[in-house]
Symmetry: C2
Subunit: 181 residues, 2 copies
């Protein structure tokens, strides 16, 4: 599952095969089918694990009790670390690019994951604006959509044009949110 997750983020759903994983583990192709009957089942388990992990984090006091600014920094850092790890891309973003060639169950998993990221971000933005530390007009839901989009897209652009482009995105968000208007 670790390898599948890595491959998804590095090469996309259509970019890796059972053979890639088998070679890496030095086992045969069929050994993976023993644990996961289909590629669909394997990737579904990977997304589920990712969702569970995120849920655990945001409900843990280590994140829950942070200030809105620190929460946002924590969230940005997830993406910064993803970027630093072999230029990986957000799992949700990777799956969305190939959404049209995904089996139904994986589409649903991708939808659920994206919804969960988005709603946590929305709540955090709301909380920060209510506390007077974030400044933005419009709906928190819209600002959340903008920020998540740019993080997903930023990781992709960074692949072509380098790390500095991703850092620029994060920095600009902080500038936009924290600037006293």
């Amino acid at each position: 599952m670790d390898l599948a997750e890595s491959f998804l983020q590095e090469k996309g759903f259509n970019g890796f095969s059972y053979a890639h994983i088998a070679k890496e583990l030095d086992v045969k192709n069929a050994a993976i089918h023993y644990h996961f009957p289909s590629k669909e089942a394997l990737v579904s388990a990977v997304i589920q694990r990712y969702r569970d992990r995120f849920k655990l984090w945001i409900n843990n006091s280590r994140v829950k009790d942070l200030s809105p600014q620190e929460k946002l920094d924590w969230f940005f850092n997830i993406y910064t670390n993803t970027r630093a790890d072999n230029g990986k891309v957000c799992l949700a973003g990777s799956l969305e690019t190939e959404f049209n060639s995904l089996p139904d169950s994986l589409r649903e998993q991708t939808q659920a994951l994206t919804r969960e990221l988005l709603s946590w971000l929305q709540a955090t933005l709301q909380e920060g604006r209510d506390a007077g530390v974030f400044h933005f007009g419009g709906e928190p839901a819209d600002k959340a959509a903008l920020i998540l989009s740019s993080l997903q897209g930023g990781l992709q652009i960074a692949r072509a044009l380098g790390n500095s482009k991703f850092r620029a995105v994060v920095q600009q968000h902080k500038q936009d949110l924290l600037a006293v208007t």
Copy 2:
């Protein structure tokens, strides 16, 4: 080339084959190899055409003579129309997701395309801020990276969660840029 471009934006580089194009055109597989010796050559020609088209547009007086606000609207509309056309995704974004499994010449083409989009956007933001119609702190290059990232990412999120998420991104950008601080 039209079909290849569509498939790239709908299913990604690894998501379509010569067979898909051949079937659509009602010709044999080998007929495409006659015109484009390799998939690499085909996709390279598609990206080059896309770059040429963008260059033509931005240098045409119909776009060149617009106000910064109108220019930005024109740019946003490219993405809105891409979204409306079968839920397609930005060509650059599609290629970046699979950047790691792309042949060298396509990586270079993708880099060049992204750089061109980014530098036009940066110049337009600069122009708008100088004219006093756009309001943002920090560097125009960073704001350009943020906007392009979010448009690419927004098209992808829209696949999972629907059109409204993409509209939210565009609306929030206008809110952020035009709000008098």
